[in-house]
Symmetry: C2
Subunit: 215 residues, 2 copies
DNA sequence: TAGATTGTTAATCGATTAACAATC
DNA sequence: TAGATTGTTAATCGATTAACAATC
């Protein structure tokens, strides 16, 4: 993987890499060993040119006249996406959303281990979920409890608390945040942030329905 | 709202409209009645030019030299986004994710009512959640039970079932789908589809961490 | 009127697509 | 070798940004 090329990779490209990775494993599960960009792209919902262009940001993984060896490309993508190791995830918020995320199996299967859970509710603090004790959110503060740092914080807190909790996890040294709170949060540009906002997606559907209905 | 202009509205624009709508209500909550594109944009995380351009797709909502009246713009955005009415939502899948979505308050507050729940698990079928009886998924089939159509189907099913269930809800006349299953699904282009894919978001963070770490 | 700020056009930027030489 | 398909360059497309005339 040419290190020099890793600079201007767009988030769109990265998200498509995830899609390719998934398609790859699907095809492999069907017993296919080698596939063209045409077939891979079809399964991923993109054009073959798009797929080749995306992959070319990271190296030369195919064989002209033949296509891509699925096992080898899977291995490359695992490495590029950082799925060849395990990540330490802290779940902040043990409410409905937090609980669903905690028991979400694909999470763990991809290498993401929830090793810590935090909440503010005294009724929740001290509970043990599948071996993980729910801690008071104050234990995130510098100097408090935790020694091994978290790689990723998953924010499943109310919108009103999102920015404050985000500041807290950033101060605790977390470098990546997945935010489920329906609120825009600001982080330093050394911290990676992704937001999953169900309200926005629903509103996009609502908009589309109104538009479709008007035709 | 110029009807002729509603054709080529990009999904990016629509998602930003949701952000503006949220920022608007936030500012209004702070007692502010009129705001410039500058202030609104700042709160929404975009440039003022972007905000004005987005709004201009739908009409002229501001006053030159003055800015935007927040109440009036809120009203316009509510109408554009279809939030001035209620939508009938069917939840497909009553597992962990489905259960969290069902109890997710912002859902209802924005006008989305879960009026039906479907599952395949005999242990789940017949349960009543907050007044809604969980039905067998077969009741979605044409000719079966339901009379009033659903506006939106929320898919909270395993990846392996996603396409099949999607086909089923489309056949049942649903025009908008919010898919939480980590799988690409295909729908006719008369159906609006949004996907929330936590695996992709986590993998984007994992990619970013590897990159940040490599600097 | 003078100052402020919109709505919109034109310029820029970036991402996608098409085409094809390289090559297995 | 002939056929197939990659990797990459150039062309296209669309989205964002900058600038400014219109105007409150």
């Amino acid at each position: 993987m040419p290190r020099s090329m890793r600079h201007d990779i767009s988030i769109s490209t990265v998200r498509r890499l995830s899609a390719y990775y998934r398609a790859l494993r699907e095809l492999r599960g069907e017993g296919i060993a080698v596939a063209s960009s045409q077939l891979l792209a079809e399964r991923s919902g993109v054009t073959p040119a798009q797929l080749r262009k995306d992959l070319s940001c990271f190296g030369h993984f195919g064989t002209r006249g033949r296509g891509y060896d699925l096992d080898s490309l899977t291995h490359e993508l695992r490495s590029i996406l950082g799925l060849d190791r395990r990540w330490r995830v802290g779940l902040i918020g043990a409410g409905n959303v937090g609980s669903a995320l905690f028991s979400y199996a694909p999470f763990r299967e991809q290498g993401f281990d929830v090793v810590a859970i935090y909440d503010v509710d005294p009724a929740k603090i001290g509970q043990v979920w599948d071996g993980v004790r729910i801690a008071a959110i104050d234990e995130l503060r510098p100097g408090a409890g935790r020694v091994e740092p978290l790689d990723i914080a998953v924010l499943a807190v109310p919108a009103a608390a999102a920015q404050e909790v985000s500041d807290l996890v950033v101060a605790a040294g977390v470098r990546a945040i997945l935010n489920f709170a329906p609120r825009k949060i600001s982080v330093p540009d050394t911290v990676a942030l992704r937001t999953v906002d169900m309200a926005i997606e629903l509103e996009a559907l609502s908009f589309a329905l109104r538009f479709l209905a008007g035709r």
